[in-house]
Symmetry: C2
Subunit: 312 residues, 2 copies
Amino acid sequence: MMSISFPEEVTIVEMLPRDGFQRFPRWVPTEEKIAIIDDLSRVGLPEIEVTSFTHPDVVPNLRDAEAVVSGITRRSDVVYRALVPNVIGTNRAIDAGIDKVNALITASPEYNRRNQNMTIDENLVVISEIIDIGHDSGLTVEAGIGMSFFSPYEGRIAKSQTLRIVEEVIGFGVDEVTLATSMGMANPVQVADVVSTIYRRFPDVDLGLHLHDTNGMSLANTIVAMQLGIRRFDCSIGGLGGGVILPDAMENIGNTPTEDLLNMLREMNVESGVDFEAIVTIARDTLTALDVPASSHVLMGGIPEVVLAQNR
Amino acid sequence: MMSISFPEEVTIVEMLPRDGFQRFPRWVPTEEKIAIIDDLSRVGLPEIEVTSFTHPDVVPNLRDAEAVVSGITRRSDVVYRALVPNVIGTNRAIDAGIDKVNALITASPEYNRRNQNMTIDENLVVISEIIDIGHDSGLTVEAGIGMSFFSPYEGRIAKSQTLRIVEEVIGFGVDEVTLATSMGMANPVQVADVVSTIYRRFPDVDLGLHLHDTNGMSLANTIVAMQLGIRRFDCSIGGLGGGVILPDAMENIGNTPTEDLLNMLREMNVESGVDFEAIVTIARDTLTALDVPASSHVLMGGIPEVVLAQNR
């Protein structure tokens, strides 16, 4: 008889300030970003990706990265992380005083060429430099491997391509590795295959998952990943984020919504340290302020409390 | 090292004609129902729940049960099943010439009292009669246990309550048992707990799952159930169905959408025998004809084909 077990606790990382805002259809004022990050800092989230140190022409929505980092009220129990695509961005992040950088590379040669303007080999050299520079300044460095499962140009990504990058960045001494599915096209079999292969080859790797929900499988993928040992998941308030190159109808479907992930975890008695009620309040207030319709199940009322109250 | 395996094939049961139409906001003409069922009969679906033999005052939308069953073009490779709440309905179903009945009971005393007008013990007697009558006429009889995990009145349902009903109906000689979550409030830990307990006590039971997606966990629950041995899943085109007593904002979130379940299965290389493209066409045409907005991930474009075509 097969039995299934889940971890007692997991770490969740809030992506709204970076992934949610980077392609948001309008400019979100710096003060609004700072207020949201300060709210997010007070609800038990262990880590927040607060911005991206990218060239302002490439991601104009996050051109205020320095102002955001200097404006927020830092708490000692929260890790403030930023995305960095290159050495210039890393130096800016260090100067701004960030705790941790998420160094970006993708497993898709074509996507890497078009969006990063580098071959994967060139990008790997950059990653090794970011790791060295970051470590010299006492930062934690994570490698975020975009398109780990699927590329909008090449389709499904061969496991060997993702594995090669994992192997290289581990060789460079990276602290953490995150497999990202910005296209939201991973499935439970593929996740199980890639993750279990990585753990077999690198049993000590600190591995995380950054899932998008384009195909509706992000919680199913999370379940499989938890069973295999993954304990760190990115997510975003209201599911905001991503939508890099997706069908129009999917503009409201981005990252795994933080509130939906948290709801599943609390229902499963998996501890995250995050205050569910407080996250729901932030999610509701934030989507209202941004004038974005609720698309997460929790915000539509898909929790026991709402169903029971409706029938009292 | 933990490893995860999934089945090579599963059976999916289409619920649209019954669960999708029973509380649909307007009357769907008999000819339209028949045309949809005939379309569904041609795409490889092994089983379709075509109607419910309920008192017409209780479910007026399905008051044409006899006309639907006599009007459809039956195929020998499709099982045509109907929901029956009592002996009268069972006799009507037999007279109409159905292949299989889904005998309804719930694990919630309060829900059973309000909606079935019986205590659970009274309902169990009825189920045993339905099984006998059905078997005498050569029908397959399934027991559909509603509220197996959560009730809108009592909240979470104790495993012992569901188990007691499973034990009784197996004792009566039922052919199949289906655990239903019409409230869509089950979670992977609870599903794993209930399902593995049932298999431990009744290793030979033919167990199926009828999931709704109110909390967004229906595919996650499916993944866990597949790992534990479940091979039969109910679903509904466009996710139509359910919404018994749910928050207003959730009116478009019902059963697991057939096209989303199928997409996950094909991506995982789990065989269902169902033609995915044909289902997507039926889903699109049906929702258009019914004037219902698409809420499934597949219909919004969350499949590799759409993403790749968009970026060619």
